[in-house]
Symmetry: C2
Subunit: 345 residues, 2 copies
């Protein structure tokens, strides 16, 4: 059983190791922290911590390094968020001031976070499942090509080019427009998708317009899927190269995950937040995502009536208190901005 002091020793090890990137020995701990006991006593505690697999020694008779399990205990029980300096707070607010639109706001958010922490920053687009379709629009490009645009009441827009089977007159396009618009306008995106599915299931008319309506509706359904499917904005991948020694292996799995996005989306989706909306996934806990050498910390924010996450990706050996605090501060600020925006319309 690990004593109370033993846990404090673990905390000291994590802090010093994050600080210096070198295995920390009993003597160092006595020097850098005020435990009021001798190195030998610390050694006894360390032996217990090692039994519990909270720390490990890279080589016989070398200092100790936290294990993934050790980091987990540290984050769950020992870490206190390190409050941001006022300079950092004001940096966030100036960085995020007066965004042009949602894209711009999220882009600035990740830039701010990566500057604040030196890690790769990630933000999910708010999930739009509660949004309603406010408008569908078609632009006939001539021939069989038509641009299909869907807009939600939260201001998000998706567009796609559809290729029809047959050529349409402009009058036909108007007919298609009113048919599809009637089907989805004003409905929440989920309900709109449902309505389109029902249309597809019903017996098909064979008129030229009817056929076009079906084709276009299918495209609209795909676009609605876009709204439900989360997307990511990221920044700071260059920081990985600088911090390369922190990853035992190569950083290429990380770069792949960044490029893939899907992996990160799944990972971020599966993490379980605490009562402050914060979550951390550490080292081998991410092994199934190919990120066994990395950690992710996230914070929830509220946007457009739904929840999404902002987070950081970095080495397992990261400064969790600082990073969690930064994520939380940015998430709170983001929620406030989106809330104002929401209520102002």
């Amino acid at each position: 059983m690990v004593s109370e002091r033993g846990l404090q020793v673990l905390r000291a090890i994590v802090q010093d190791y994050v600080d210096t990137n070198e295995p920390v020995g009993s003597k160092t701990i006595v020097e850098r922290h005020q435990f009021g006991v001798s190195a030998a006593t610390i050694r006894n505690d360390m032996a217990l911590l090692e039994d519990e697999e909270l720390i490990a020694a890279p080589h016989t008779s070398s200092g100790r390094v936290p294990t993934d399990k050790g980091y987990r205990v540290f984050v769950d029980h020992l870490a206190e968020l390190r409050p941001l300096s006022s300079a950092q707070r004001s940096a966030i607010s100036t960085f995020l001031a007066d965004p042009v639109d949602l894209d711009d706001l999220l882009m600035r958010t990740v830039r701010a976070l990566t500057r604040l922490t030196g890690q790769v920053a990630i933000v999910q687009y708010p999930s739009f499942s509660r949004a309603r379709v406010s408008h569908v629009e078609f632009v006939h490009l001539g021939g069989t090509r038509i641009v299909v645009i869907v807009v939600t009441d939260t201001g998000r827009v998706s567009q796609r080019v559809a290729l029809l089977q047959t050529e349409l007159e402009d009058a036909d396009v108007a007919a298609v427009r009113s048919a599809v618009a009637a089907l989805v306008t004003g409905k929440p995106v989920a309900a709109a998708a449902q309505a389109i599915a029902e249309l597809s299931a019903s017996p098909a008319g064979s008129s030229r317009v009817d056929e076009a309506v079906r084709t276009v509706a299918r495209i609209v359904a795909e676009e609605l899927e876009d709204f439900r499917q989360d997307r990511l904005v990221m920044a700071g991948s260059a920081t990985l190269a600088r911090r390369e020694g922190d990853f035992r292996g190569s950083i290429s799995p990380l770069l792949e995950a960044i490029e893939e996005q899907v992996t990160l989306l799944r990972l971020m989706g599966e993490m379980v937040a605490d009562d402050q909306g914060l979550a951390a996934s550490i080292g081998r806990e991410n092994a199934s995502f190919g990120l066994g050498e990395a950690s992710v910390v996230t914070g929830d924010y509220d946007g457009a009536g739904s929840r999404a996450r902002v987070g950081l990706l970095g080495p397992t050996r990261m400064d969790y208190p600082t990073n969690l605090a930064a994520v939380r501060a940015v998430a709170l600020y983001l929620s406030r901005l989106l809330d104002e925006d929401d209520s102002s319309r």
Copy 2:
């Protein structure tokens, strides 16, 4: 003066060095190539090449390595494109078959290129400066928020949320729509932007609608700028981490350039293509872009009536014949696809 055989020696050095990543000595050349002369003779040639600064020795009495200037001569005078295997050709065509839309096509293009070459692949969006505005659309979200959508006859769409000074009735929105639409519809994007600039210069009316028209027009002008401004799609940044030893320094400047995009756009814009539409920018030639350790090869393609580039970013020590051939093949294929698409409407 470097003899004809001297140039062949340079070619051999480049080829072997790209192959093995080790400085190549006179003996190796004699073994791997059929020069029919002895190592000593090769050494004499190498001394001349060194005088011309086409090759250099990393250390006294070590094998030789091509300089940037050496690569330049190789690419300009000695390299012949290495034709793609038929397997590779068919890989391209299956990879690029049946794209959903332009975004999808370009995304697949970079994926194909990065798979083919193992380098970072980049493609510019076709420049839309010759495109015409086919449609502007507004969606009133309520209050002072309005989505402004601009569509060109090439099928490209840009949207942005505008915040107005004052609240508008739906009737006002209709008035704004017709005013702005009259201003720009049917015009090439450059002319449309011009028209808006003239509007801004003319004396302002003070009615609510007039003011809204000006605000919205300004937003439209911004969006037109989007069309003229090129954008990039990229893939394969993870390959950099694997090939890390090829870069003397860190790969972080490369990752930064990839994240910045602007740098790469400028670089690709400034490169001068040969009669096949191919271009290469080697090593220190890119120093002013922070990419002195890297090379970029590009090929031009025709899309939607205008020209754009597809390219590769990798270490200076890259396989230029293969990479140039791959870029050319993909560029040609892309041109063909976009041309078909163009003529089918």
